[in-house]
Amino acid sequence: MSVTLAIARNETRRIFATPLAWTVLAIVQGILGIVFLLLLLEYAQSPDRQEHYTGLADYIGNGLYGFATLLLLMVMPLLTMRVFAEERRSGSLSLLLASPASLVDIVLGKFLGLASFVLVTVALIAAMPLMLLVGSDLDLGRIAAGLLGLLLLTLAFAAAGLFVSTLTREPVLAAVGSFGLLLSFWLMQVLGTRPGITGDVLGYLALTSHFENLRRGIFSSADVAYYLLFTTLFLWLAVLRLDSERG
């Protein structure tokens, strides 16, 4: 366990030692800031909406979180590509593979490193709606449920990206691959609207459909379990993949 934490700490340090992490944080925050501002202005200028929606938290949460998921879907592959693909190409992966750390230690450590970045990203996003506490009566439960959903969704993105990263030694290929994988899980939601059993199954599997409840402030353990299972599945696949590579 201490080895897992050592790898996680090292990953976190390395993520924040590169300009990539800071650039990503700045751009995500900048774009979401603009979106947040536009939503706020629109809300203030249309009184009829205020009646239609139940409240400010719902309105802002819906728009901001919705846009954030899309943005993070595009950004996470850039962070996950370096985790294994780039390390394999630069040769530094051998350090971990030749050490007494087990594959589970390695994968979990790397994932926790990514998770620390995700936490920082979500915390920064959280600052925006929380800012409204100053002048309004915010429904904190809703905001928290939405943020939890965003966190779980982004961790699922990270796990899927981490798995794709184990498949190749080309970082760009890993980024494109995980982008494709995440988008196809996204698209399942569209196919999920089709009638019949296929539609139902695909709709259930879709990454974002489980976010809807949380975004509306409904904490359902089934949705949380879905994200945890999704994340565990891809981390486990990554371990299997690294194991098969050895022999």
Binding site: N10, R14, S94, S99, P100, R246, G247
Partner: protein, 321 residues
């Protein structure tokens, strides 16, 4: 003399990619205090073999034991006694040397109290103190290589595996690394690969030559450097009749190279050089050249690896040009 403990033992290692054998029936033994050189041309399977020894690749058949612990059965325990430097030093350019070595120490489970000492020792051994707080990415190749070696020895493993440790370094750095490897041998046993002969001769006390995934030759270098010769090359300005050369004591056969030069084959254990000089003086042949054609590691290496190894049955035969 009692035999030192066997620290690493590989038995029948083979690795197959489809129809191609990257390594075939490789057997190796590494004893305490030994520096074993793995020599071979590019693509001979050296790196593949070392990767199997380090547990990065699982062999198709065969097994690796480190200090009696099976690498396949208990990988985490076995790897505690192993330090590995791959072809590319496994470094993180965005970290400083001290941060990097701290992580390596944690990775090898060195407890907090001993960690500082271990890092300090490794940095002293690899002469890294002067740039401890510099980013590894900004250092020269030689220093990056030394960082790679430092991480391989930080946990004082019984077996250190170094894959081409001096590649890409300048001559002064190469000398420094060789000195380091020799100093490592006092406490660790080392196995290193190279395709450069002088390097192996400089640091190893045993050499194994690999070619096309097989071990084709193995010898102790103290015997390899001892002048053992089977032929003499002689040259004269005047006319020397070959039949007279053939009757000199210890000469078994005479090859006529041209009118003035001959190769004399020598019976085992004989040294007819004084007799040749004596005969040349008596006959007035005008001796201008006389040297023993030594069988060196280089001859063995070239003979075994140039062309098809199966066409050359034994090394002793092939050195007779």
């Amino acid at each position: 003399m009692t035999d030192p403990v066997v620290l690493l033992e590989a038995q029948g290692l083979s690795l197959q990619y489809g129809a191609r054998h990257a390594a075939h029936d490789v057997n190796l033994q590494l004893r305490q205090g030994e520096v074993l050189g793995l020599l071979g041309p590019n693509g001979a399977g050296k790196s593949t073999t070392l990767k199997m020894l380090a547990g990065l690749l699982a062999p198709t058949t065969g097994s690796v034991m480190i200090k009696g612990i099976g690498l396949a059965d208990a990988p985490t325990t076995a790897k505690r006694h192993l330090g590995y430097l791959p072809e590319l030093p496994p470094i993180y350019p965005e970290l400083t040397i001290i941060e990097y070595l701290q992580f390596c120490a944690q990775l090898h489970g060195i407890p907090g109290a001993a960690r500082k000492r271990a890092i300090d020792d490794a940095m002293t051994a690899c002469e890294l103190h002067d740039c401890a707080t510099r980013l590894i990415g900004n250092l020269s190749k030689g220093f990056q290589q030394r960082c790679g070696i430092a991480q391989a020895i930080i946990h004082r493993p019984a077996v250190v595996i170094l894959d081409e440790p001096t590649v890409g370094l300048d001559p002064i750095q190469i000398m420094a690394i060789r000195k380091l490897i020799r100093s490592l041998a006092s406490q660790h046993s080392v196995i290193l690969s190279s395709h450069i002969l002088p390097e192996i001769q400089a640091v190893c006390n045993r050499v194994v030559i690999m070619h096309r995934g097989r071990i084709v030759h193995s010898e102790h270098l103290d015997t390899a450097s001892r002048p053992a010769f089977a032929t003499l090359r002689v040259g004269f300005t005047g006319h020397a009749p070959p039949e007279k050369l053939a009757v000199i004591d210890g000469v078994t056969e005479v090859d006529v190279l041209d009118t003035h030069q001959f190769r004399l084959h020598i019976a085992a254990g004989q040294d007819p050089r004084p007799a040749v000089v004596h005969a040349a003086v008596l006959g007035g042949w005008g001796l201008i050249e006389l040297h023993a054609e030594l069988r060196t590691l280089e001859d063995t290496f070239v003979a075994l690896t140039a062309g098809d190894s199966t066409a050359l049955p034994t090394s002793a035969e092939s050195t007779r040009h």
